[in-house]
């Protein structure tokens, strides 16, 4: 049974970082609280240097690993997106054991089995934003078709040179049930 509908799996922070998750919602809320405070504090210090996506990713990797060492895991898989300190696009993932890596595309949960094959076939380094959005939609469409717990309501967050934005929720169209 779907217990809660309309739960968003992506969020964005003022410093241009997007965070997505799969897994325990309570643990994600705890992480979200902690990051919000950390980023706010970083801005208040006002020393001209703010944490980028790579710093947040490093922090999350260390924190998740520490929790696993204490046998108190944060039961989520996280995706961190944004810019690194040099302004280059950054994408990384961290899981509940502290396994972390950067890659041009990542997936969590069922996405590892369903979406990664599509991404490996279709991703190119110089994709336009529109092509990337279509590719992500294609992946989510496959996940909706094959994962019985998935829904066709999706939300995307985007990080560009102009800033970060969580998009509106919308439903995937053209689902082929044949």
């Amino acid at each position: 049974m779907v217990r809660y509908k309309g739960i968003r799996r992506v969020t964005a922070y003022d410093n241009g970082v997007c965070l997505g998750f799969s897994g325990d919602h309570a643990d994600f809320q705890s992480i979200d609280d902690e990051l919000t405070n950390m980023i706010r504090q970083d801005q208040c210090v006002d020393d001209g240097v703010t944490m980028g996506a790579k710093s947040i990713y490093g922090f999350l990797a260390a924190w998740m690993y520490q929790q696993r060492n204490e046998m108190k895991p944060l039961s989520v898989s996280l995706v961190v997106a944004g810019k690194d300190d040099k302004g280059e696009p950054f994408l990384g993932t961290v899981d509940q054991l502290g396994t972390h890596y950067e890659a041009p595309f990542v997936a969590t949960g069922f996405g590892n089995d369903l979406a990664l094959p599509v991404l490996r076939k279709e991703w190119t380094p110089n994709m336009s934003e529109l092509d990337a959005i279509r590719l992500v939609e294609d992946c989510l469409r496959v996940c909706y078709q094959r994962d019985c717990k998935a829904s066709n309501s999706i939300v995307m967050a985007k990080s560009t040179v102009d800033g970060v934005q969580v998009g509106v929720e919308y439903k995937l169209q053209n689902i082929n049930w044949q």
Binding site: Y65, S75, L97, T99, H100
Partner: protein, 209 residues
């Protein structure tokens, strides 16, 4: 189903030592069960020009172990005012692993390097809890049982081979592993160390299936 703090991200490391060289190699595949997570995660880490560690097993523990060792190695070099040699680092790795005897690092390490005392090249091989063995060649990880017989056939109880011949043996051994072992593949990184010289780092493609 309760939480397990461990996973095996697969992969294989191999090292061969000779009179004046040591080769250490590792594949770059990181997997989780039947999924490939990444095709380019190095298993070799360089601590200084004398010490290289190859690690197979759990990726998160590999990074955690590298960080702990890196801190101790830097402290040693600040206090002793000299580069750490592989024999000292071998002891450090053994004690670091054994300190976690009752919640081990899920890592299968091979250490390769130059002993600064007498300028010889050495390999040390470990289990997950710090049992250490100095050996002329070693393999660890998922492909260990496929690689070791190849090394034994070519190297055991024979005159020491040249570095080029050792590289040929090591490459052949890795091809045996990547052919039949699912978590080994993608790219092979081979690092060659010689006393007083910079480490020569090479890569070679392996099977991507």
């Amino acid at each position: 189903m309760s939480f397990s703090p461990y996973t095996d991200n697969g992969g294989t490391c191999v090292a061969i030592a000779g009179p004046d060289y040591v080769l250490i190699a590792g594949d770059t595949r990181m997997s989780d069960g039947y999924n490939i997570l990444h095709r380019d995660i190095p298993k070799l880490s360089q601590f200084n020009e004398n010490i290289v560690m190859g690690t197979a097993g759990m990726h998160a523990d590999m990074i955690g172990l590298r960080k702990e060792l890196g801190i101790r190695q830097q402290e040693y070099e600040y206090q002793a005012r000299t580069k750490m040699g592989v024999a000292a680092f071998a002891q450090l790795l053994a004690t670091t692993l054994y300190n976690r005897r009752f919640f081990p690092f899920y890592t299968f390490n091979i250490l390769a390097g130059v002993d600064t005392k007498d300028n010889t090249c050495a390999i040390y091989t470990y289990d997950a809890v710090g049992c250490v063995l100095k050996a002329p060649y070693a393999a660890s990880g998922a492909g260990e049982s496929l690689v070791l017989p190849v090394l034994d056939a070519e190297l055991k109880a024979r005159d020491p081979v040249t570095a080029e011949e050792a590289k040929r043996v090591l490459t052949a051994a890795f091809r045996a592993a990547d052919e039949r072992e699912i978590s080994t593949g993608d790219t092979l990184m081979i690092w060659t160390m010689r006393p007083g010289q910079e480490i020569v780092k090479e890569t070679m493609p392996l099977r991507r299936d």
